[in-house]
């Protein structure tokens, strides 16, 4: 496997050819904020939080889908990027009804953690307070659309790790919605295998195990990674 050398935030780094900037940075211990990225499923470059500046291009590129190349100079923490990231997070908080204080994922939420780490102090946009419902028709799990960030991690986990193809996305723009099967109540789904991988994949409190109360919903991401590593690398011990 050919090796590429590049710099990230001025630090010289080597990475395998074909690796993404995000993989190279993570390996070198450089943290780039992500939201739609999930270890174990393919990347879609949708949340735009991982955008980086690359010398020689005027475009900002998502680290999760941009491949490393020889001599690449990457900046991950410029003032401009940090400002854009804060704006993206504020847009998310204003988009649906994210009320942390009463959320099952309070304290274990990637959106909340990102807001802290990116220095989001307030939301400069008007809340839109949309009307969304909660689907509690499934025997084991619930889906609260008010807390969904449309990262599609559940959809990808459902299709590409479990292979059930239950979760999907319907509609467009701000009215896009995660659906089960042909937009029917989750409890009526024929294809759902009740594996819970979507719940493990969800970054917020949108997908939850029934019975969890405020702050109790911890998403077990490692389990997903374990399954994928086992399958793809035939490696059956959990990485710690």
């Amino acid at each position: 496997m050919a090796v590429k050398t590049l710099t990230i935030d001025g630090r010289p780094i080597t990475a395998e050819e074909g690796a993404t900037v995000l993989q190279a940075a993570t390996e070198a211990g450089i943290k780039i904020p992500t939201l739609c990225h999930l270890e174990g499923v393919y990347d879609v470059g949708a949340c735009r939080l991982c955008i980086v500046e690359i010398t020689g291009t005027t475009k900002l590129l998502p680290a999760c889908t941009t491949k490393v190349s020889e001599g690449m100079e990457v900046q991950t923490q410029t003032e401009r990027l940090r400002n854009y990231r804060r704006m993206i997070l504020e847009l998310l908080f204003a988009e649906r009804n994210h009320v942390c204080a009463v959320c099952v994922s309070n304290g274990h939420c990637e959106l909340q953690t990102l807001a802290y780490s990116q220095g989001m102090e307030h939301i400069r946009y008007d809340y839109t307070f949309p009307k969304w419902n909660v689907d509690t028709t499934h025997r084991l799990f619930g889906m609260d659309h008010n807390r969904c960030v449309l990262c599609t991690r559940c959809v990808r986990a459902c299709w590409h790790i479990e292979g059930a193809g239950t979760k999907n996305i319907a509609g467009r723009g701000a009215t896009s919605k995660i659906i089960t099967d042909l937009n029917q109540p989750w409890g009526d789904s024929d294809s759902c295998t009740e594996c819970g991988k979507c719940v493990m994949a969800c970054p917020t409190g949108a997908l939850f195990q029934k019975g969890s109360t405020v702050g109790e919903m911890v998403h077990d991401r490692d389990k997903l990674e374990f399954i994928v590593t086992a399958r793809e690398k035939k490696q059956w011990v959990a990485a710690d």
Binding site: C47, N83, M87, L92, D126, R172, G173
Partner: protein, 536 residues
């Protein structure tokens, strides 16, 4: 099919032509005002007045002057004429007029600047041939460019000719077509595809619809030549479902071309195979974006994906794919027939050839025009378009639809080419040209386009999905006179962020109408602002 057979078809068709041809526009615009009945009545009248042997009443495509429709044209021994605003009951007097009778129907003037200043490459056959008869297309030299390419040129020479022509993509971005063709040709892969983008979602744009309705074989021939050049054997024509007439004419055209062996296996008895299938889009604007379009062709949800990889390397089902706009393909036969150098002689240094525009809005002469690149906007708006109606004055011209901007009247002397329009903060776009007069409020215009982008955002990436909502809300607040300078600052900040961080072209250009109206008409925004209760 061999060349002599093709020529025989052309000759037979030409020699059987009647003396007088009455051309009835049967494109969507005129069809909507009973053009089909007009044609039926004209045929019945020709019979009734005993002119059946001399008069052919022909179904034709768009003649361009759509605002004056329904249109009926005639050719008689080298002379031509045009009737405008024709009604079904006018048929008798129109036929009578062919023999010198009295006719009160409004006559069009073929020397009117609207026609005189045009230059036709893409629309050369529009309004002349019957789009539902392949013989008509063959009679004017159709499919000879494909024959020439297959028998006289190597694929690389076809690419070379397109490169020489300087043709740039007509779908909006203006990417050099020769370069794109060369990349697909060189991309490794046994299976390649050619895709024609006929999604045409810009509000006010109907250039591609008109080309597809008026001259479907021209597009098919362009696609076939492209397929030969890049090494593809399968093509897809993506047309939006809102264009049923274009779809049905394409279906007829594909069937006819297959019957004559001009599509399918072993075209012109060469080893070259090419099939074209139609894919019908369900009307999402974003499905015009190339990666979303390809996802849709594959049967998936039509959302864009990050590029690279570009379709030229990895497109449909991971194979190298050439994707061009309808108008881009419509230029190809002429380039092959007359040579890339001839084409490069038209237009400006960096913008070659002609461009079709849909001229609409507050303007006297609405319709479709094809003009050489580099023509000053003023000639299009004031001379061809006749300026604003009702004694009003022109305020601004919007080009490029929701991705473009508003050019103020002070800049009407700008030449219409890719670079000049970009420099003014607008874009060439696909050819929508919406004229606004002095009664138009520019903030409302910006809000209109933002609402369009908000509703058409696919929702995949956050800046576009949530950013357009907030920008629209801020614009609404401004138009309702409830906003302060602080809100305007927020709007500008969002424009910058959405432009720079969105995944695809929709989000990246959605702020353009706001940015450009702010640049030239900031006063109109300022007038609507309220004092900030919390101080400046």
């Amino acid at each position: 099919m061999q060349l002599d057979e093709l020529k025989a078809i052309a000759e037979k068709h030409r020699s059987s032509r009647k003396k007088i041809i009455v051309r009835t526009c049967m494109s969507a615009g005129c069809m909507s005002s009973q053009a089909d009945i007009i044609k039926k009545n004209l045929e019945a009248e020709a019979k009734a007045q005993g002119l059946e042997a001399d008069v052919e009443v022909r179904r034709v495509g768009c003649m361009g002057f759509c605002g004056q429709g329904p249109l009926v044209g005639w050719d008689n021994s080298g002379e031509h004429g045009l009737w405008e605003f024709v009604k079904p009951e006018d048929a008798a007097s129109i036929i009578a007029a062919l023999k010198g009778g009295e006719c009160k129907v409004q006559r069009g003037d073929p020397k009117h600047p609207f026609f005189a200043k045009q230059m036709h490459i893409v629309r050369a056959n529009g309004g002349i041939i019957d789009p539902e008869r392949i013989e008509d297309y063959i009679a004017i030299g159709g499919y000879t460019a494909l024959h020439h390419s297959l028998t006289e040129l190597q694929p690389a020479q076809v690419v070379e000719e397109v490169t020489k022509s300087g043709l740039r993509g007509r779908g909006g971005a203006g990417f050099p077509s020769g370069l794109k063709w060369g990349t697909v040709a060189k991309s490794p892969g046994a299976k390649k595809y050619v895709v024609c983008n006929g999604d045409e979602g810009d509000p006010g744009a109907f250039m591609d619809r008109s080309v597809l309705e008026s001259d479907p074989h021209l597009v098919l021939e362009g696609m076939a030549i492209a397929a030969y050049a890049v090494g593809a054997d399968q093509g897809y024509l993506y047309v939006r479902a809102e264009y049923p007439l274009a779809i049905s004419r394409l279906q007829i055209a594909i069937k006819q071309a297959k019957q004559l062996g001009l599509l399918g296996a072993g075209i012109f008895e060469s080893p070259f195979n090419f099939n074209v299938d139609i894919r019908i889009g369900a009307g999402a604007f974003v499905c015009g974006e190339e990666t979303a379009l390809m996802a849709s062709v594959e049967g998936k949800r039509g959302t864009p994906r990050p590029r690279p990889p570009f379709p030229a390397e990895s497109g449909l089902w991971g194979c190298p794919t050439l994707i061009n706009n309808v108008e881009t393909f419509a230029n190809i036969s002429a380039i092959i027939n007359k040579g890339g150098e001839w084409y490069a002689g038209i237009g400006t240094e960096k913008s070659k050839g002609t461009k079709v525009f849909a001229l609409t809005g507050k303007i006297k002469n609405n319709g479709l025009i094809e003009v050489p690149m580099g023509i000053p906007l003023r000639q299009i708006i004031m001379e061809m378009g006749g300026g604003a109606p009702d004694g009003r004055s022109i305020k601004s011209v919007q080009t490029g639809g929701p991705s473009g901007g508003c050019i103020p009247a002070d800049y009407l002397d700008t030449p219409v080419d890719y670079e000049s329009l970009t420099k003014l903060g607008s874009i060439m776009g696909s050819g929508g040209m919406v004229v606004m007069d002095d009664t138009t409020n520019m903030v409302e215009i910006a809000k209109f386009y933002m609402e369009f982008c908000m509703e058409e955002s696919c929702g995949k990436c956050i800046p576009c999905r949530a950013g357009t909502v907030q920008m629209f809300n801020l614009l609404e607040k401004i138009t309702q006179r409830k906003a302060t300078a602080r809100d305007l600052a927020k709007l500008e900040e969002l424009c910058d962020m959405v432009k720079n961080t969105s995944l695809c072209g929709l989000g990246q250009t959605a702020p353009n109408p706001v940015i450009s109206t702010l640049k030239f008409f900031r006063k109109e925004y300022a007038e609507l602002l309220q004092p900030d209760p919390f101080g400046p």
